[in-house]
């Protein structure tokens, strides 16, 4: 179970981080894909195994909660990361930024917020609905 959980988390994190890094032109908040992958995989596994099991199973592992947590944490980290496609503070603007490397509040932050609201509301709508 433990190994299967970790395997699902690692494979999904690998795919998610790969797709996201290409799509958004980012290497995560630490500027390194290995750390980005490691954090996503660990979080997807640790939080995913605690979620109520839903969706199809593989070797006794409910993969969907792990994948959902992986996608969610990747979204949060991308929203908190510098992106080549996103708004950056350049050159002299950085100097004026009072030594704070802040990331712009852009469309991705809203995407994170909307995803989290859907996830939360979905719990009441889909999971707690009596059969």
């Amino acid at each position: 179970m433990f190994v299967a959980d970790l395997l699902v988390a690692s494979i999904s994190a690998l795919c998610i981080v790969w797709i996201v890094s290409i799509t958004f032109g980012t290497k995560g908040p630490w500027g390194n894909l290995l750390w980005f992958f490691l954090v996503v995989a660990l979080f997807a596994w640790a939080a995913g195994v605690w979620l109520v099991p839903f969706g199809p199973q593989w070797k006794g592992v409910s993969g969907l909660p792990i994948i959902c947590m992986g996608i969610l944490i990747t979204l949060v980290l991308v929203a908190a990361s510098p992106r080549s496609s996103g708004k950056r503070l350049e050159g002299h603007e950085k100097t004026m930024a009072h030594h704070e490397n802040v990331v712009a509040v852009d469309i991705l932050v809203w995407l994170v917020i909307i995803s989290l609201v859907i996830m939360g509301v979905g719990h009441y709508a889909w999971y707690l609905r009596p059969n």
């Binding site: 179970m1 433990f2 290497k27 995560g28 908040p29 630490w30 500027g31 390194n32 750390w35 490691l38 954090v39 660990l42 979080f43 596994w45 640790a46 939080a47 195994v49 605690w50 979620l51 109520v52 099991p53 592992v61 409910s62 909660p65 947590m69 969610l72 944490i73 949060v76 980290l77 929203a79 908190a80 990361s81 510098p82 950056r88 503070l89 050159g91 002299h92 950085k94 100097t95 930024a97 030594h99 704070e100 490397n101 802040v102 990331v103 712009a104 509040v105 932050v109 994170v112 917020i113 995803s115 989290l116 609201v117 996830m119 939360g120 719990h123 009441y124 999971y127 707690l128």
Partner: protein
């Protein structure tokens, strides 16, 4: 239930963000405490309600999972944020600094917490999933 869950998430996020911002001297990745609080509160609620119910209850709400998720996401966002007591640079050097967060003790603290959280599932709650 929804209201009680939200209240728990908002109060926990307020407490966590307040403590964390003072302790680590940060306003989160977006340089704004409001956005930091909003993401922590929503994440704590959105993922906390999906976690298997463990721990004590308040008005039918199992608050421990919400609190744990709030703590974990706040820790992760701190690890991904610029903090003031890091290596300081003169203004002319600042212009050449890239905007990545550094891999430091906060990332390791987050990793250890996540590991304990994950392994704890098999140790304390093996009958689930």
């Amino acid at each position: 239930m929804l209201i009680a869950d939200l209240v728990v998430a908002v109060i926990s996020a307020l407490g966590i963000v307040w403590i964390v911002s003072i302790l680590f001297d940060t306003k989160g990745p977006w340089g704004n405490l409001f956005w930091f609080f909003l993401v922590v509160a929503l994440f704590a609620w959105g993922s906390g309600v999906w976690i298997v119910p463990v721990g004590p209850q308040w008005r039918g709400t199992v608050w421990l999972p919400i609190l744990c998720m709030g703590f974990l996401i706040a820790l992760l966002l701190v690890a991904a944020s610029p903090r003031k007591f890091r290596k300081r640079l003169a203004p002319q050097e600042q212009a050449f600094v890239d905007v990545n967060a550094s891999i430091d003790v906060f990332l390791w603290i987050f990793m250890v917490c996540v590991l304990i959280f994950g392994i704890g599932h098999y140790v304390w709650h093996p009958q689930i999933g």
